[in-house]
Symmetry: C2
Subunit: 323 residues, 2 copies
């Protein structure tokens, strides 16, 4: 068994040796850029850990790892075009550096390479792996579309449960599928695959709630982002949508006014309103609720609990970031 830190280090070493062809350089420089600016490489490590939960790590899990990491980076390139984002991890986005056409095409080529990696896995479970992967990949696209659809809506029109479903599609199903694909390679039963999938999905949602919480209430020095960035951008978050649901009519009017205008102290005023509606403590409980679901899922998996330790540690690491 390996700790998640060991697997991350091993994966990064292996992944950094993967290379696109040299030509056409306009295409492959654009594709390489997104990989060079790093990332936590969580998804591939989930595939490795899903495998190792049931058996020693098979070479196929590395191929699945390469596939899911490449897919994730493909989505980042295309999402950044759609969102007109100038920066990603403090670096210029691919389309900013190479133009939109090359960025669209680099993403397309990366998505094809994803399936080159998946095509290397053993034929005895390739059908199942590709099927699980495709379902998640399509859901990620659907999640991105729902996100854009909601982006165009008035926050008061967006239902909280629809928002949770969108976040699950956009960010959690790929984590869940990575774990499941690892479990398939490791020989885990359908039932255990299902629990592991749900574990990943719930961890992903808990992580996103935490992310929204930290953006509002976190220590900007420790969190590394401007406090209240989501509030300034009128971004729909777990906090905002729940606040619109929980607050009283007067508070709702005030919140709506703050969204429609942009006073200098908008962040402070919205945070005060969040406090008044107890959104901060609600968010902590909501995160814990999904975290608990995840741990219950993990508990249900029929393997020795000692084998689950690395996954527990990874979940703790992801869900106990400094406020």
């Amino acid at each position: 068994m390996h700790s998640f830190q060991e697997l991350i280090a091993q994966f990064i070493q292996q992944f950094d040796q993967q290379r696109f062809p040299d030509q056409p350089s306009t295409l492959y420089n654009a594709a390489s850029h997104i990989l060079k600016i790093g990332g936590k490489r969580i998804r591939p490590v989930l595939a490795l850990m899903g495998n190792e939960l049931f058996d020693t790590i098979h070479a196929d899990a590395w191929q699945v790892g390469n596939a899911v990491e490449l897919f994730h980076n493909f989505t980042l390139i295309h999402d950044d075009i759609m969102d007109k984002a100038p920066l990603r991890r403090n670096n210029p986005t691919v389309h900013t550096l190479y133009g939109e056409p090359a960025a669209i095409l680099a993403g397309d080529a990366m998505l094809i390479y994803v399936y080159e990696y998946l095509n290397r896995v053993q034929s005895r479970y390739k059908q199942k792996i590709v099927s699980v992967f495709n379902r998640a990949a399509i859901q990620v696209c659907e999640g991105q579309q729902l996100d854009m659809d909601m982006e165009a809506m008035d926050p008061a029109q967006v239902k909280y449960d629809d928002y949770v479903s969108m976040i699950a599609l956009k960010t959690s199903v790929l984590l869940a599928a990575s774990l499941q694909m690892g479990a398939i390679i490791g020989g885990g039963s359908e039932g255990n695959q299902g629990y592991l999938y749900e574990f990943g999905k719930n961890i992903g949602i808990a992580f996103q709630i935490q992310d929204d919480y930290l953006d509002a209430f976190g220590d900007p020095e420790k969190f590394g982002k401007q406090q209240g960035g989501d509030i300034l951008a009128n971004k729909k978050t777990f906090l905002l949508l729940k606040a619109l649901e929980l607050c009283n009519p007067a508070q709702r009017i005030r919140l709506q006014q703050l969204l429609d205008t942009a006073p200098d102290d908008k962040v402070a005023q919205v945070l005060e309103l969040f406090h008044d509606c107890s959104i901060d403590s609600w968010a902590e409980k909501e995160k814990e609720r999904f975290q608990q679901k995840a741990f219950d899922n993990l508990e249900s998996i029929a393997v020795l609990s000692s084998r689950k330790k690395p996954l527990m540690e990874l979940a703790d690491f992801l869900l106990s970031r400094q406020h």
Copy 2:
């Protein structure tokens, strides 16, 4: 054995029954739009014909057909965004109707569905099919990038042979791979697969030369496009690049001037210059040269010549459009 017309009719009937999910409608309406505006459906029929050259058509060839037709339409959506094209087959392009974000995402989702179709083929040749498909798919992306790179160059800088290579990647390799995948399903040998692949590649290049020729010298009423559209747009074509190579220094200076300016009679002047350098007769010979290569490839395939008849007829149909 079926004629290509019979197979096109059967494929269209089957393909039109394929459906995307209903929701999110913004995503799938955009994806459906490109399929609704039609197309010749040549690529899937090549897959069916590649199969039937060696054996009766297997269900897998229909799945490969769905995959290549969907892939082709995905490239149209993304290419139209890159080229900022307002129209496709006399209809508004997907991004014009649904916006660039939905068009990018619809293409992405379609590319994932391509692999859902490929995942349905039998495991005994799935690895090989996906490998052949991926190579062609990557080459199509590389061809599109090379096309954009050349677009930004002065025509005099673009070498004719590089242009032929780019056209082969962008338009021919998918035709070739469609035939080869059919041959794999039909049980054709590696050698015969290779001949069939080359047949498709050469037919594709001959078709493109004919397309460029018709744009310049074709009867606009029969061809259905404005005569000299490529010339007006300063588009790099087989004709223009060869003219720059074959004409004398004085003609080259005149041609360059016509490219740099836009006199009212630009089309007439360029066509006159093409005539003076015998580009029209060169193009007819160049098309015949690739057509002959294709027929030699087909001749080399070790099956009864009667089985090759539908492919001969398709080639004749594609390469004898009215001038």
